[in-house]
Structures are given as C-alpha cells and as structure tokens.
C-alpha cells in the first residue's frame, strides 16, 4: 500500500506547529498503525530528519498511552485504541490526517504527544478509598452482589487515554471522572467518602479547564473500552446529592 500522511508537527508547547506531508510506501495491511509510523520514523532518521514523536507503550490496548487523532476521530475509524488499529482498515492511495488530542487541559508537548497529567490530579482529588496498607478486613467479609461487582468493573475498565476529551466538542472530562466516581460509589468500600469524593473530583475537573458536558454522547461513541455515559448520569446524581448535604465542611 502507498499512503499520504498529513502529520501534525510541533517542536514544543510554545511552537505554533503545523501539518507536514509525508509519503509512506511499503505499508503492509498486517502492520499496526503505530508500526507504520515506526517504519516512517526509521526512514526519516536515515534521511536525517527528526522522527515523529507519539506516545505509546503496551501496544495491547490497555495502558492508555497511545493517543492519535486520526482522520478527525480519536484512535481512528474503529472503536479501539490506536495501537490496536491495523492498516487493513485503510485503503491504498488514501490520505490520512494525524493530529494530537486537542484540548486546553492537554497541552501539546511535541508533535503528537500531549500532557495528560490533569487526569492524575483528578484522581488525586479523591479517586481512592482512604485506607492504609494492613489492618483491613478479610476479602470475603463483605459480600458484593455479582451484578454490582460487574457494573463496578464496567466502569473501572477505563484506561485513562483521554479519547473522551478529544472526542468532545467541549473537551469535557466527564466520562473519565464519572467512571472512577461510579466504580467507587457502587462498591461498599467506597461508601464512606462517597460525597466528598464526588465534590472534590468534580471541582478538580473544573479547575483543570475541561469543558462542560452537553450530552452529545461523542465520548461514549469513541471510548475504546466502551465506558457508558450512564456513568455520567450516576456522577451527576452523586454530585448533586453531595452538595445538598456536603461532607466538605
């Protein structure tokens, strides 16, 4: 296959950046999207040009590190992560546009690499159960219904890639934040801090500069892990019931 790639190049956060066009020949349909870029990068290096920088690590769809905005969609045409996308999803002669996640809260560091530490700070605001190591009850002491455990697991599967933010026209982080709030609100272990957690995580989300949610559902549609927007509804319930009887005093 032979492809034309329009790739966003930007030296660093303060650089203005812009698209550069490359031709990729020798693309085989069995390559993953990132392997296609690996080959391009080796060619660029041999030609003495700076390789295209992009984030990736596990290449198995689970670490949440890869983050390319391909032809106007986070992670490209399929509902998977970029690393799980293969070139057989494209056709010979196609032009592919590759950009970084675009959001105020995710500044570009270089080329296609963005800074997502805002997500870490949202978790630091309350995405945990405040227990120390040791001194906890036996794991089977509190039975949890399978239905609840499964629902909690559905929410807990979030890989924190940020596709939801990239997909949203408001760059809202509601899906990400709500997944963690839901997981812990569903489980008995999360009950004690339920209210303060919802309040603090939502406050942090706002402080980071993520936008509001206008219920377009784009986040759910693009989430590679299928995290449902029912989590956002649950978060809103948690949040409103928390603010009317706040634990944050």
């Amino acid at each position: 296959m032979k492809l034309t790639l329009k790739i966003w190049r930007q030296k660093n956060t303060s650089d203005k950046g812009g698209f550069v066009t490359y031709v990729a020949d020798h693309v085989s349909k069995d390559m993953s999207f990132l392997e296609m870029l690996d080959v391009l990068n080796d060619q660029l290096t041999e030609r003495g040009e700076d390789p295209v920088h992009f984030d990736h690590d596990c290449r198995e769809g689970i670490c949440g590190m890869c983050s390319l905005y391909i032809n106007g969609k986070p992670h490209g045409p399929l509902q998977t992560t970029t690393c799980q996308l293969h070139m057989r999803s494209f056709s010979d002669g196609e032009t592919i546009t590759i950009e970084p996640w675009r959001a105020k809260a995710f500044p570009v560091l270089k080329d296609l690499v963005v800074n997502r530490s805002a997500f870490d700070r949202i978790i630091q605001a309350g995405g945990y159960v405040s227990i120390n190591t040791g001194g906890v009850p036996d794991a089977n002491e509190i039975p949890i219904s399978k239905t609840i455990a499964d629902l909690a697991m559905d929410a807990a599967q979030c890989i924190g890639c940020g596709a939801c933010v990239a997909a949203c026209k408001n760059a809202s982080a509601m899906l990400f934040t709500s997944a963690k709030i839901s997981q812990l609100a569903l489980l008995p272990q999360g009950q004690v801090e339920r209210k303060s957690r919802a309040e603090n995580m939502v406050a942090q989300m706002d402080e980071e500069g993520f936008g509001a949610c206008t219920n377009t559902g784009a986040c759910e549609a693009e989430c590679p892990k299928g995290i449902s927007i029912t989590n956002i509804a649950r978060m809103n319930r948690e949040y409103f019931s928390a603010v009317v009887s706040s634990d944050n005093m």
């Binding site: 290449r59 227990i131 036996d138 039975p143 949890i144 909690a152 924190g160």
Partner: protein, 644 residues
Amino acid sequence: MILDSKIPAGPLAEKWTKHKFSSKLVNPANKRKYDVIVVGTGLAGASAAASLAELGYNVKAFCFQDSPRRAHSIAAQGGINAAKNYQNDGDSIYRLFYDTIKGGDYRAREGNVYRLAEVSVKIIDQCVAQGVPFAREYGGLLANRSFGGAQVSRTFYARGQTGQQLLLGAYSALSRQVANGKVKLFPRTEMMDVVVIDGHAKGIVTRNLITGAIETHAAHAVLLCTGGYGNVFFLSTNAMGSNVTAAWRAHKRGAFFANPCFTQIHPTCIPVSGDHQSKLTLMSESLRNDGRVWVPATQEIAEKLRKGQIKANDIKEEDRDYFLERKYPSFGNLVPRDVASRNAKYVCDEGRGVNETGEAVYLDFRDAINRDTRKIIEQKYGNLFEMYKQITGEDPYDMPMMIYPAVHYTMGGLWVDYNLMTTVPGLYALGEANFSEHGANRLGASALMQGLADGYFVVPYTVGDYLAQLAPKQVDDTHPEFAKVKEEVQSRINTLLNINGTKPVDYFHKRLGKIMWNECGMARTTEGLKGAKAEIQALKKEFWSNVKLMGTNEELNQTLEKANRVADFLELGELMVDDALNRNESCGGHFREEYQTPDGEALRDDENYAYVAAWKYLGEGQEEELVKEELVFENVKLTQRSYK
C-alpha cells in the same frame, strides 16, 4: 566472597514472623526525617511508594510513562494467586509454597517463597478494601479459577484485566499519598544512574524526558521497581518501553545480577507477521484447555501450506500431527509453558511450521466447536477470538489459530537478600526487577502476587530496619559524587548524540534480538552461545560507531531514550549468554541441548548447579565474576518433573 541471603534461622513457617519482630523500628516522629526514592510505579513500585508514605517517610516516585498508572503491570491478564483456600479444595500456604518451588524447578529459596505464600492472603484483602472489582460468584463472594502448575483454584481475577485493576488499586493508594504531600511524583522521568557514597546508595541521577534536564536526587534509600528485561529480545510481550537500564546501571555500580539467563517463553502468542513487527501479543494460556495444537505430519504438506496452495482445513486428519498429545499423553495440550514452547520450536525446526515464516503452529478449535457448539466456545473465549481477528485479520472460528512462543517474563534480575536489598546497602530491588522467588520458571499468576507482596508487605519492614540504623539527618546532593555521576551521564548522552552514524537504533535492537532469540532463547548449545557472545561484542562495537540519533538532549527525544536503553541491552545480552554457558544443566526456562534425558526432557544437575548464579561487574571490557549462593532445601525433596 560469600553471599549472605540473610534468611532467618528456624522453622519455615516462623521465619518471617521472627524476622519482623527482630527488625529495628523507626520511631513514628522520626519517619518524616527519612527520604526514600522509589523508581517504577508498577505493582511493586506503586505499592511500595504508597505503603512507605503511609508510614510517614517522604517518598519520591519516578516512572518514564506520562502517568504512574501506565506501568507495564497494567497489561497482565490472567490473574493473581493467593492461598486463601476459599474453595475448600485443599489449598494452603504450604501448598502454594510447594507449587512455586517445584514450578521454579528447584532454583529458588525456600525462605523467600514461603514468605511470599504467607503474605499472599493479605494482598487480596488489601485490594478488595481499595475497591478492586474482582470477579464474584452469585452469592457475592470472590470467584477463583485454576492456572497451570496447580491442582487447586487459587487464582483471583478481574475479567481479563487483572493487572490493570490491581495496578489501578495501587495507583489510587499512591495518588492519595500524592494528595497528602507524602509522595512527590516524577512522571516522564528516566533514572540514568545510582549514586553510591561510601558503599551505600544515596540517590539517583535522572533525565527529564520533556526538557532533557539531567537532575540529581538524594535519599536515605533507593528502591528499584523497574520491571523485567524481556525486551533484550526486541520482540516480546513486554511494553515497548520496558528496559533494563535502571537495574543495569545499578549493576555497574556494585549490585550483583542473578540468573540472567532464566527467561520465560510463553507458548501461546500471535506469531510474527513481518519485519515491521514491533511487539508480540499474548493469547491467554486458557485457550489450551480447548484448543488442540498441531502441525502437518510432513514437511511437504507444510510447504504447500506456506506457499498458499492449500489451507489448514484441507489437511486430512491422518496428515495432522497433534504433537503434544502424541508425546505427552497424560498432560496433552496442557503441559507447562516451557515444555509446550520447546516442542513448538522443534516441529518448526523440522520444517513443519505453518505460516509464511515457517514459525507457527496451529491451535485448533474445530473439535471443541463440534463438541460444545460455537456458542459455548464464544462465551469462553469470545474476546480473545475477537482480539486475534483484529490483529491477524483471520477468523479463528473458521480457521485454526496460529500461535508461536514468545518471550514473556524474566526470572533473573538484581540479586537481593531476604530483605530485598541488593549487594549495595540501601539499594533495594522489588518485583520483576529482582531475581527472587520464581527460580528457573515462573508459574502463571505469580508475578502480580510477588510484586504486591514485595511492595505492600515486605519492604515496609525491611527498609525500616535499614533506615533505623541511619541517623535521621537530612540528605542532600552536595557530595561531589553526585556531580561526578551526573557528569558521566551527560557525557554518555553526548557521545551517543555525536556518533552520527548511518543506522537507526532499532536496526541494532532487532539484530540483538535475533541473536538472543536464536542462541539464548528456547534451546541453547555451547557452540551457539559462544558464537552469540562474539556476535554481540561485534554488534556493540558497531552500535557505538554507527548508530544514528536525531535531535538534541534538550528536548523530548524518543530516539535518544531508545538508544540509551539499547546500549544497556547490548551489555546485558552478553551477560545472559555467559550465564547460560556457565549453567551446564537444563532447568525450567533454561534448556541446554547437551543436557536432556533420553526422551528429550530437561535434565537438572542438582549436585553441581543448585545455586543462584550472581554476577559481579568488574569493569568495562572485563569478564564478570561469578559468585555462587548455594540453595539449601530443608523442606522439599528435589525431584525430576515429568508430564508424560
């Protein structure tokens, strides 16, 4: 020199309790006067950093990814073992201990392994309390599954994402300590070296991966939780960034490296599809419960297959060789990982491999689908079949899957004593980075257990014992050794950037991987290993004269990151070969063709090789010195494994 493992005396079941009691304690008010550096935020690092911070120590935590949550532990699928005996099926701490020692082919320490089994039960309690959504039964209690090498169901799991859920649990505990101000996080930061002063680890030198700034950090103790070195083979199931750099630099500063040649090769991975391949994907071991492994009976048929003249389904029953079932009638397709891998290699070496590259065997579900219906198979393995289809473009319901073994885990690592301290006082190694509890072969679902055991339940005691012996004096990086090491790091980077050769880093990494895979992989010979050593030395020379890097140090520079790591892999590769050459026996993942039973099974030599091979670095270009730690077995009897 004698290596002291510091295993406490006394009965096996009392060692850890006695040891904890005799460990020194740091008084609660003094804990905030001690600083601890934790490199790595996988299961081992995140759990250690959180637990030490909860105790009151000041922790600095480092990782090279953009967030601690992305450590390679996130990718573990199958599960985590614990001797809870919730199933009432005869499990016990002793049985988990015994299975692990035996599974490791009797090359691990009894004392360490027993402690691991002992604390395993507390890990599950801890994770559940954090909100880890383990699988449950309808009655609301925790569910278990069984795994290779065990006759009981002791594996806890969270769908196919156990590692993810455990890591997110540890990450949440870590995040809480960040919020409390007890942990300072350094993501996108790579440790480049350790600073050793008067024989004690006193800090590290790092590179900020965004700005390129080389920085120094001082502490009272340094914990390396930096994972395994499987990527020395270039292709492995490890994450792309997994590396040996932190451990290797520590090695060169005095930490011994133990059993480097013990690597685990997993039998069920998706085969290599071409030269562009960057990593390999694991398909869960559970598939071998229903899939039948086979290749064509003759080379001629295999050749037709490879040329695309026939398809798998065209091959008649009598022309198929179900080689595992044929050779191991009682275990069949469920032989342990090392046996399954080796036999796949043999049939491919005979020219009977099935894909274009000739390096693949079939894993066929036809009979299982006919027996159980497609629906049942779909329920059991639906997501795996989907993943396979996504990657290969072939539908395993219609065509047999193709699989081939791949490097998956490294049992070797930094030598540590019972306290998880390396041979450099104040420097610890946890998780896959140490050589630890798995001997020559790791059982499934035991790496997650070990990482969390080390971080949550072992180092909070053993690091405390060390710190209690140091004065609670503030540390800083004004000692000239910090400047010296920093300068060395800087100059190595400059050298790399200035070589300005013609070949990209991956070119060298791929070639190293091929050498390692061919000569120090599933089967090893004296001759092959000797050749490999010479080839690696030549490749190393070529790397340092012909590698081509772009850009500068003062920016995000992914090729520089890679080059740094590959430079260390080149040195490690040579030591792995030395270690494999030294071990004149076959055990676990280490199979030397000269040492096998008449029917082709691994032949251990307990008389001469029941020891840990710890290697001491003596300087650039010098052969490393072998230091042996004899293994003492007081509780288990050493036997030959048989799966016939």
